[in-house]
């Protein structure tokens, strides 16, 4: 199973990787339990920085599409097919839309929403 990325594409490289691997899972090109290449192998084959591939793998692991088994390597998660269809970005966007709509209905201005959002993000990061 081959994946192809385009370094000129406006979509970030790690996102392209995540999308391609999820697509490979959904289309049964790779099956649950299949092993995946190491970060180093994939980074060298795609001529990418290994941090980019590591970031993609981290996101896929968070989404339960892949699972790391220490020295044995990285494998496709047993529930990867279902988990690959879950779009966290769409979910976040829907929830934010609801919150913004509620704020606007209450008369909160755009700049107040932005300031509140930044402050909420900062307090969550600290």
């Amino acid at each position: 199973m081959e994946i192809t990325i385009d370094i000129e594409d406006p979509m970030p490289l790690f996102t392209q990787l995540v999308e391609q691997i999820k697509s490979a899972v959904i289309n049964s090109k790779i099956k649950p339990g299949d092993s995946l290449p190491s970060i180093r192998q994939l980074a060298n084959d795609l001529e990418l920085n290994s941090k980019t591939v590591a970031k993609a793998y981290k996101l896929l692991e968070r989404d339960l599409v892949i699972q790391s088994k220490g020295y044995r390597g990285t494998f496709v998660h047993p529930h990867a097919i279902v988990n690959s269809k879950v779009d966290l970005n769409a979910e976040v966007l829907a929830q934010l839309n609801n919150a913004i709509s509620a704020c606007k209905t209450a008369g909160v201005t755009d700049s107040e929403i932005r300031i509140a959002f930044s402050s909420a993000m900062n307090s969550n990061n600290n």
Binding site: M1, I5, D6, P37, N44, D45
Partner: protein, 287 residues
């Protein structure tokens, strides 16, 4: 006398195999590629002009012809000088080894030239799309565990054998051999890691071709390791059992086996008809 005749046959075979037969096969291969995959249709295959490839081919051919003549002259010189030695006496045992190393120089120069071509290919590659296989490359996907275990076991067998025949005393000779073996195997491990996880030299090479190249390289390294241990064992045995006159025979056989496994194996595995040359066409993006 019989040892001398055997040596002549083996040394002649070494000269012909490494400096005539294999170079002829490689030249035939270069000419075949130039004819079947010309620069007009496969421009990515020629980062420099085809004339440079032809010039490199002629240089390679000439160098091998010179080495072939030197080999025949050395054989004549050996025939003249060996008259002064008894049949059971050790004489010029380093000749096949030293000459063998010289015989490999054109192949090494060809490899260096190949690496230079790949570097130019990478520089000229303007494609923004990059592909990779999602299949991990593990050692045992390419070589059988039996080959690796045999190579490791033989390595330790050699050390034990050498200690055994020297009454378990660590000789300087053994230390040198262990250091040599360690260095050779460190190189093999480095090359194996590079083949499994490293960057590809040829930016256009098809995934399938890379896989078969990796398989061949790992298998030949395993075989060379086995033959190296066997060679060193034989080398130690002839010293202890006072069969020094056999050393010249063993040395010549060793170099021919290495050439057969390395160069011969490459020619058998990477055949032109099985390589995907479409990736070098002008309209093709990287595969």
């Amino acid at each position: 006398m019989s040892i001398n005749i055997l040596f002549y046959v083996l040394f002649l075979s070494q000269i012909i195999l490494i400096s005539y037969y294999y170079p002829k096969q490689i030249i035939k291969r270069i000419e075949g590629v130039l004819k079947k995959f010309p620069p007009e249709s496969y421009p990515k295959l020629y980062p420099e002009s085809a004339d440079k490839v032809i010039a490199a081919k002629i240089r390679y051919q000439l160098l091998n012809q010179i080495i072939l003549v030197i080999g025949l002259l050395l054989m004549g010189l050996y025939a003249l000088m060996s008259k002064d030695y008894d049949n059971g006496q050790k004489f010029a045992e380093g000749l096949p080894l030293m000459f063998g190393m010289v015989q490999f120089i054109p192949f090494m120069l060809l490899e260096v030239s190949g690496c230079r071509q790949f570097k130019l290919m990478r520089k000229a590659n303007k494609s923004t799309s990059r592909s990779a296989d999602l299949t991990p490359r593990h050692l045992f996907n390419y070589v059988s565990p039996l080959l690796v275990i045999s190579a490791v076991l033989l390595l330790f067998t050699f050390i034990f054998f050498d200690l055994y025949i020297h009454d378990f005393t660590i000789t300087n000779d053994l230390i040198i051999k262990i250091i040599t073996l360690s260095l050779v195997h460190a190189l093999f491990i480095g090359l194996a890691v590079w083949h499994l996880t490293g960057k590809r030299l040829d930016p256009h090479q098809a995934i399938k071709d890379r896989s078969s190249q990796t398989q061949f390289s790992l298998q030949s390294m395993g075989s060379v390791s086995i033959f190296l241990s066997l060679f060193l064992m034989a080398n130690s045995a002839v010293d202890v059992f006072e069969l020094g006159y056999m050393e010249i025979i063993i040395n010549s056989i060793y170099f021919q086996v290495i050439a057969f496994v390395g160069i011969g194996g490459m020619l058998r595995t990477d055949q032109i008809d099985t390589i995907n040359f479409d990736v070098y066409k002008a309209d093709n993006s990287i595969i």
